[in-house]
């Protein structure tokens, strides 16, 4: 239990992220297949295999370099909407962690706020549209609240992951308004969004760095 996260600690969490995506790839494709084209798990796995290779070369890198390495690979390996969105997410995290050694809770709040804004700018979706933002936005709100309440970092990140999970689950009842799924209208209700689900796996892995 620490009140900051070091770069080696974050590297471990990012490696764990790659493993989670690999493990869950069939589940993600299955979710996507219900209302999308069914390739989300395949593309995410392909992308995060590349990330894992890059992380193996990133031992000893500082925080910002770590996130930048991840962001560049995610952005430019597989493409698709997910490449643009998650690529932007990690590159914004890199931008906000520039020059920082260990991350305190206040640093993580700023980084995740900037990452959320980056996704809003590029994706043009709003919370409630049945996208990954429905996982990310409540998680960032929970982190802000935890910082305001003066919680310790591990507790704050546990709340962050829990809010992400609830946000992901909330997409089941939503009507898709973005992407290919949006053309299916009412048929999208009752299915948990694949992007919101992969976003939860990513955020849960990030939160694990504070354990």
């Amino acid at each position: 239990m620490a009140d900051t996260i070091s770069a080696p600690r974050m590297l471990k969490a990012l490696e764990a992220m790659c493993d989670i995506i690999e493990t869950e790839k069939d589940y993600l494709s299955e979710l996507d297949g219900a209302i999308g084209d069914g390739d989300h798990g395949v593309n995410m796995a392909k992308c995060f295999r590349e990330v894992k290779k890059k992380l193996a070369e990133s031992q000893g890198a500082d925080m910002s370099t770590l996130f930048n390495n991840v962001g560049m690979v995610v952005l430019n390996s597989v493409g698709g909407a997910m490449g643009a969105l998650y690529g932007t997410f990690f590159l914004k995290m890199a931008q906000e962690s520039a020059g920082k050694g260990e991350l305190a809770l206040s640093d993580l709040v700023t980084m995740l706020q900037t990452a959320e804004q980056g996704i809003l700018d590029i994706g043009k979706a709003s919370p409630g549209d049945k996208t990954l933002l429905d996982t990310l936005a409540p998680a960032v709100r929970a982190l802000e609240q935890s910082a305001k309440d003066g919680l310790a970092l591990p507790e704050a990140m546990a709340n962050f992951a829990q809010a992400a999970q609830k946000g992901m689950e909330s997409t089941t009842d939503m009507l898709a308004k973005m992407g290919r799924a949006s053309r299916l209208g009412e048929r999208t209700i009752g299915h948990q969004d694949a992007g919101a689900t992969s976003c939860y796996f990513i955020l849960r892995a990030l939160a694990s760095a504070a354990k």
């Binding site: 297949g33 069914g38 390739d39 597989v78 909407a81 997910m82 590029i122 290919r180 299916l184």
Partner: protein, 333 residues
């Protein structure tokens, strides 16, 4: 899944290896990213016309790279938009000093990745404009036409932009010409059997023996309804009426007609459908100023076709008739 492929993850690169060898007179691949560009490009003093998107749409997009059409194409995985670096490298390689025009379909991934590439290009001093095509009347109501998918109508946009650029048109003039194409083009598609994305391994939708997917997308996106199988004349009439009513196309108009095979429908059937469209237009005294029948924009092995009409004026007729020399489409001078 029965396909003549090797590792499903290698299909795009292996296809490119073959394509680039066959068509080396026309095209080459960049080293920096997966983008296919004119072998003789960039052309100095000419606007660069660029598109890109997921693979699996042969002959679109790379089959139309060459003189009088596209300068560069960013190549994605099957049905997956290419990453920003590929789009940006395509832009750099196509820039002849007069800027570049991005032409894209209305897909979330394409729009985002090209947006990121446009930011990179502008930062590198390359002027960028873009036009997003939205010709598929089956993908949304007319009131929300800006949300519709861009499908094979984009072919007219590539031809017109390429011709305008080759004639020395400015970036703004090329953009305006494609906007005119998009405003005057409408498409509707139908499928009778689905396609299978190699990395997924199962069909994009299922149909009973006597069913059609009506208003299907060219990635096998489900349409507005599954309807009972009809004869060529019946389904062509239903589709063409919807296309005519949407613009609407009126008596006295002159149009280009494009009957596009979606990958698994023989030309024999496409010509039968064309014949019905021609009869319907003649009944309404709409003149056919150009006819296009074949595969222009497919969805892997999907069986089906689409009907596209574009209302013509003198400028569009002239640009369609201008010379083009690409691997898969040629207009003799």
């Amino acid at each position: 899944m029965k396909k003549f492929i090797n590792d499903p993850y290698d299909v795009v690169d292996e296809m490119l290896e073959g394509f680039l060898d066959v068509h080396k007179k026309y095209v080459r691949k960049l080293d920096a990213a997966r983008a296919v560009v004119r072998a003789d490009g960039p052309v100095d003093g000419k606007v660069g016309v660029i598109t890109g998107g997921g693979s699996g749409h042969k002959p679109a997009f790379i089959g139309f790279v060459g003189q009088g059409m596209l300068d560069a194409v960013a190549v994605g995985e099957i049905f997956t938009s290419p990453p920003p670096l590929a789009c940006f490298e395509a832009a750099k390689a196509a820039d002849g000093g007069k800027g570049v025009l991005f032409l894209l379909g209305n897909y979330a991934g394409d729009v985002m990745n090209f947006q990121l590439a446009a930011d990179m290009a502008k930062a590198a001093g390359i002027p960028v404009e873009q036009v997003i095509s939205t010709d598929d009347v089956g993908s949304g109501p007319k009131e929300e036409a800006h949300k519709r998918r861009g499908v094979v109508g984009a072919f007219f946009g590539w031809k017109v932009a390429g011709a305008k650029a080759a004639a020395g048109g400015s970036l703004e003039a090329c953009k305006a010409a494609v906007e005119k194409v998009n405003a005057n083009t409408r498409t509707l598609g139908v499928a009778i059997s689905p396609c299978t994305v190699p990395a997924k391994g199962s069909p994009t939708f299922t149909l009973a023996e006597d069913e059609m997917e009506y208003a299907v997308g060219h990635h096998g996106e489900a349409g507005t309804a599954k309807i009972n199988m009809m004869t060529a004349d019946e389904v062509t009439e239903k589709m063409t009426l919807e296309v005519i009513d949407d613009l609407p196309f009126k008596t006295g108009d002159e149009v280009a007609v494009l009957i596009n095979g979606l990958g698994g429908t023989p030309q024999l059937e496409l010509y039968i459908c064309y014949r019905k469209v021609k009869q319907m237009l003649a009944d309404r005294q709409i003149k056919v100023g150009g006819s296009y029948v074949g595969e222009f924009f497919t969805g892997l092995e999907m069986a089906g076709f689409s009907v596209t009409l574009m209302k013509l004026d003198d400028e569009l007729k002239e640009l369609l008739a201008a010379p083009a020399d690409t691997p898969c489409y040629k207009v003799l001078p």
